[in-house]
Symmetry: C2
Subunit: 434 residues, 2 copies
Amino acid sequence: MSEVLGIGIAGLGTVGAEVARLITERGDQLAERAGRPIKVMAVSARDRTKDRGVDLSGVTWEDDAVALAARDDVDLVCEVIGGSDGTAKDLVEAALEAGKSVVTANKALLAHHGTDLAKRAEANGVALAYEAAVAGGIPIIRALRDGFVADRVQRVTGILNGTCNFILTVMRETGRAFDDVLAEAQALGYAEADPSFDVDGVDAAHKLALLTALCFGREVDFASVHIEGIRRISPVDISFATELGYKIKLLGVAEIDGEGEQAGVSQRVHPCMVPVSAPIAGVEDVFNAVTVDADPVGSGMLQGRGAGAGPTASAVLGDIVDIATGRMAPAFGRPAVALAPAKAAPPSAHVGSFYVRLMVIDKPGVLADITGILRDEHVSMESMIQRGRDPMEMVPLVLVTHEVAESAMQAALAKISDLDVVVEEPAMIRIVEG
Amino acid sequence: MSEVLGIGIAGLGTVGAEVARLITERGDQLAERAGRPIKVMAVSARDRTKDRGVDLSGVTWEDDAVALAARDDVDLVCEVIGGSDGTAKDLVEAALEAGKSVVTANKALLAHHGTDLAKRAEANGVALAYEAAVAGGIPIIRALRDGFVADRVQRVTGILNGTCNFILTVMRETGRAFDDVLAEAQALGYAEADPSFDVDGVDAAHKLALLTALCFGREVDFASVHIEGIRRISPVDISFATELGYKIKLLGVAEIDGEGEQAGVSQRVHPCMVPVSAPIAGVEDVFNAVTVDADPVGSGMLQGRGAGAGPTASAVLGDIVDIATGRMAPAFGRPAVALAPAKAAPPSAHVGSFYVRLMVIDKPGVLADITGILRDEHVSMESMIQRGRDPMEMVPLVLVTHEVAESAMQAALAKISDLDVVVEEPAMIRIVEG
């Protein structure tokens, strides 16, 4: 059996501690899979005294995580500190420049600096692996990077944030409001005290930017992701979705949008209505899923746990064993220097169907005003629901459109919301076939 | 860019032709992913004159497929002939012994000779890759072989045959009988003229035997797979399944069964009732899916197209590019010599819940006779449905049991079917949580 692969772990939160535990307690299994022993040589974390449920005697502690990169006994750095800049970035750069492979679960870091880090890895002949960064328990990076290499991806769609999926699932099952369910998610540990990274869609957007680079061979382009979160989803829209045969999911969607010279990649994270019969509609609670439509493999979906110590550590160790055996792949599936420059599709290029809920004063002529605007903007309607009759009071009016340019829909909505009889900001949710 | 990887393709049916087409038409894409050009050097197929929609000018034809293994310009043999023995086996053995890697879609060959072929590959320092052999469009081999390497698999469950899944889906949606829907599947090209490999569960069992070896680190043990097909599934059982909240699926299930010294791997392919809410219950038509329950990754499912030229060729090319880049893994995830000997769990060890439909003469005392037998065999009932009343005529009586040893259930069924009032062979379907 060949020489030991020495690991330096930066960050001993729940993920780092689980990685250390698995390396320690499943040493024989990992050595068999890797063809060589894997050993934790050094770690770095703030608190040396905390009981993490793993025996770290004999392991060197570094106060400065970046020092792990310089250690002779560390062949591979496992970065599970998190954050797009600061220590995580300094460490990963230092490790790659020192000729050490890096395994990371850090989507924010890669979303902001992925292209540059991939180039550094390749220039130094080492690996930058990040299965754990996108839907941890789901082997989607491996599938896209190594598996579907002969395919042309048309679209990638994902439930990429377990917190949002949990909140939307509970809202639908119970009829409760967003704030109420968010508080439950926080109590259960599914959401942070500051939940904005999750519920505002930023975490999902980080992951989508990485999937986009892999699927379309483009440089990572987080800045172009259109991001809307789930704070504005209301029980009334969930109830209408059910009535119309849809579920509301926070999806990340990336696809080629536009024609010819105008064509680019559109990357969008926003609430969607998906038909209940779509496979992704069945993915509930904290589970994540990624659907890939590609030629010639067709449509497929991978689902599993996206976060948590176990799934994330499992993914980290898959990457570590790959590197231990010499199974190396460029971070984004092809040489980083060969990635095409990012080119965002113009937002006006997007075409889709839309759910719109208006709160209108129930009086004669309202419908004529609204349908007149839709006609003028060439928005064609598939169905309409007016719930209840309550003369001169506020009632919901729900419209579902046929396929139309989003720019036309937005123009119509701007005019509609200016009508005196429309008393709240219209609620608009994009319909996606799943 | 380094030297060309020369491919020899044995078999130019729809899959072989699609592999050749992708290598030819997507040469630049594949070269970028592989880091070197990939080129078809030689092929072997019966009919040289047939138009396969791909330009094979400049490619050498071999009358004898086995001759591909000896060609100096062939570095990798792609075997898509099929069959557990004969030419396919001769070719794969010859290629491995000649130090050439093999990519195959041949589940029958690997189910029967997988351990031996894996040993030959390792002895010669080459790869034996078979992503295309199990649920083609689903990257499950990659996930189990390279991804979940730190995990301990508790159970693997799959919809592994698209023909059966299509037939069961249409039977449920239309209420039609098996023979009728089989004929439709044959007309659509989803089932062979001789459908027995598919509908009797043999094809699914081939695939399950490979998943079992990968998941549990055991030698391939096709002979121990308990196999039942779907010919006996009737519309009445599908209707009762719906009423009880289940769907009937042909599943392959492998798990550790039994305790201590008795423990072994149970491998079963048979119709199952799964709760409609289980992810695998939502996988319909010709789609395949594999669910893995493992520690620490948790429960996950991969679904997609299991067969057809496109998905299968996509998987073949994923393997070819792996080998082109030097990403090598032992066929079953660890050295073939380190695979544990196969050890089947004793059938008596299996415990589960059961759906049983009896056709009984509706007269006083029937229920007492039946429940008496169940009590004597310690089979505890969860629910019972007697549909209709028709004194002295035949009526269905449906029982759903709590968890019980299958041996007890079988003993009870033997006694029950001996009762005069029970007029048909009991229909028994295992209930699986999915």
